[in-house]
Amino acid sequence: MREFFQRRGKFRPRDVDQDGADIQIPEDLWVKCPRCQELVYSKELDHNARVCPKCGYHFRLRARDRIASLVDLDSFVEWDAELRPYDQLEFVDLAGPYAAKLKQTQAKSGEHEALISGWGTVEGRPIALAVCDFEFLGASMGSVFGEKLVRASERCVAGRLPLLTISASGGARMHEGLLSLMQMAKTVAALARLGRARVPHLALLTDPCYGGVTASYATIADIILAEPGAMIGFAGPRVIEQITKQKLPDGFQTAEFQLEHGMVDLIVPRFELRATIGQLIDLYERPSQQDSPNGVSAGDHREPAPVELGGHYGN
C-alpha cells in the first residue's frame, strides 16, 4: 500500500516558535487502538491514513496532516498565518494567565491557533480549506479562529472559490469570554454572505465535534459530511449524563447516529474523502457543461486519484 501521507512531524509549519522535533512521534512506537484495543505499529498507521488497519477506527488528524492528505502536492497556500490570539480579557484561571497558556500551547502544538486556512487544489480543482487543529486547546473557537474563517469566506466570495470546512472542536474558548461566543455569530454571518453569493460550502465533521462549532458554521453548510465513528453533538455526553442522570443510548452522537437522525448528508471513510470532495466540486463547478456528445456525461466517474501527500512541507 502506498504511503497515505508522511509523518505529521514533517508538516512543520514555517513559523513555529519552537522546533517541532520534540513532539515528533518516534517511528517505531506502538499505538493502541482505542476501539479494538489492538496495538498498531505507528508507521503502519501513518501509511494507512491513520485508520486502524484492524478495525477501521479513524484516529484524529492534525490540521496540517489533514490538509496534506487532501490537496494536490505542493498546491496548498496558507492564509492569515500571521494572526495571533490575544488575551483581551486578562483571563486568569487555576493554571495561570491565558496569555501564558497560549504560549505553552503554541510551543507544544507548533501552531499559533486552532484553525488553519488557505487554498489548494483537489484533483486539480481549486478549493479553500479551513481546518481545525484539535491539539490546539481542543480547537476551541477563539477570536483568531473566527477571524480566519471569516477572511477565508470573504476570499471565497471574491474568488467564487468553494469552501471546505473541516471541524473538530470542544466548543467555545472560555478564556476569551463572550468574544469567543460571538465568533459563532460572526462566522455564520460571513457564511450567510457566502450563501447569498451561491458559493458552495462543504463541511466535514470529524471526531470530536461539539458546542459552538457544531451549533454555528459547521451545520449550515450546503453539504455536511462526517467521518465514520466521529462523535458529533451540541452538549458533550458527560455533561448530558451528569445533568439528566440518564444512561445514554448505544451509539449516541456518533456520525452514524447523526446520519440516522437526518443531520448529515453522508459519512465518508477517510480513504474516499479526496475523491468525494473532488466529485462534489466538480458537480458545482460545471453545472451545465456539455461533456459528451451522446447525452451521458463522461469523466464523472473518476477513479480516486492516487493520493499524493505532504511532501511540499518538507520531505
Binding site: D15, E82, Y86, Q88, A172, L181, A185, A189, T219, I240
Partner: protein, 306 residues
Amino acid sequence: MNLVATMATDLLEAKPVVNPITAWERVKLARHPDRPRTLDFIHELMTGFIELHGDRVHGDDRALIGGLARFGGRTVMVLGHQKGGDTKENLERNFGMARPEGYRKAARLLRHAEKFNLPVLTLIDTPGAEPGVGSEERGQATAIAESLLAMADLAVPTVAIVIGEGGSGGALAVGVADRILMLENAVYAVASPEACAAILWRDAARAPEAAATMRITAADLHGFGIVDEVVLEQVPAHERPRAAILAAGAALRAHLDGLIEEFPGDDDETRERLRDARFQKFRRIGAWREAAWRDSGLPLDGHAAG
C-alpha cells in the same frame, strides 16, 4: 512601528457605568426569581400580542416564545426566552432552556417577520440551550445554527436586549441583532460561571472567581464593543420591575426608531445595506494581533495599537 497590530475593540477606554458590585453579585441579580421576565416586558410595553406557536415539525417550545404585537406604533415580531415564575411554571418552561423546537420556531417567526417587513425584537433570558438526549436526537446544534443563520440573513431591523441571564449559544441564537442592549444587572457569558469554574478550576464552587475573570457584566461587554447600550437599573429590576421594563422599552424604542430611520423601506438596496451593516458589526468583534513573519526577524508579540 514595526509591528502590524490591530484590535477590534479598545478595552482601555471602557469604564464601568455603574457602581462596582461584583460580577457574581450581578449573576445572582440576573437570576433573581422576582426579576421581570419576557412576558412581563411584552405585556407592559406592547399591545395586541398574539403568541404564535410551533415549529411545524415536532412541537412547541414553551421556553422560547414569540408572536406579533404592536410596539411604538409598529407591528413587530417579538421573541424571547421565558423562565417560569414558580416551580410549576418553571417545569413547563424548562427553566428557560430552549429545545430544538424553540430555535426552529424562532427561525420560522423570523422568516415570517421578513416576509411582512416587520422589525424584530428579541429578549434574552436563558441559562442556555437544553442539554439532553432528546434535544440531541432532534438536532439541538443544527437548530441553533439555523436560528443564527436566520438572524444573520434577516432583511428587517432587529434589536436584542439581555434582560437577565444570557447563557451561551442558547442565548446567542436569538441575539444576532443590529443593536444589542443589556439591562445593567443582566449577564451574558460563553458558559455559566459554575461550568467554567468546574472545568478551569475543577471546582464549581469557585464560580465567583470565574465570573469575575470571564467579564460577563453589561459594563464589560459594552467596553468590548459587543453591547451597544447598557440600560441602567436605578434599583435592581426585581425590586421595581416596572421601572426597569419602561427603561428597557424606551431604549428599545430609540434603537428601533434609529434603525428604521437609517434603513427605511424594504427595497432590495436597503435590505442589502442593512444585512451588510449587521455583518460589519459582528465582523469587528474579537481580539487578535497580526504578527510579522518570524523570518523577518521581528518579535512575534507586540503591544496593541489601541
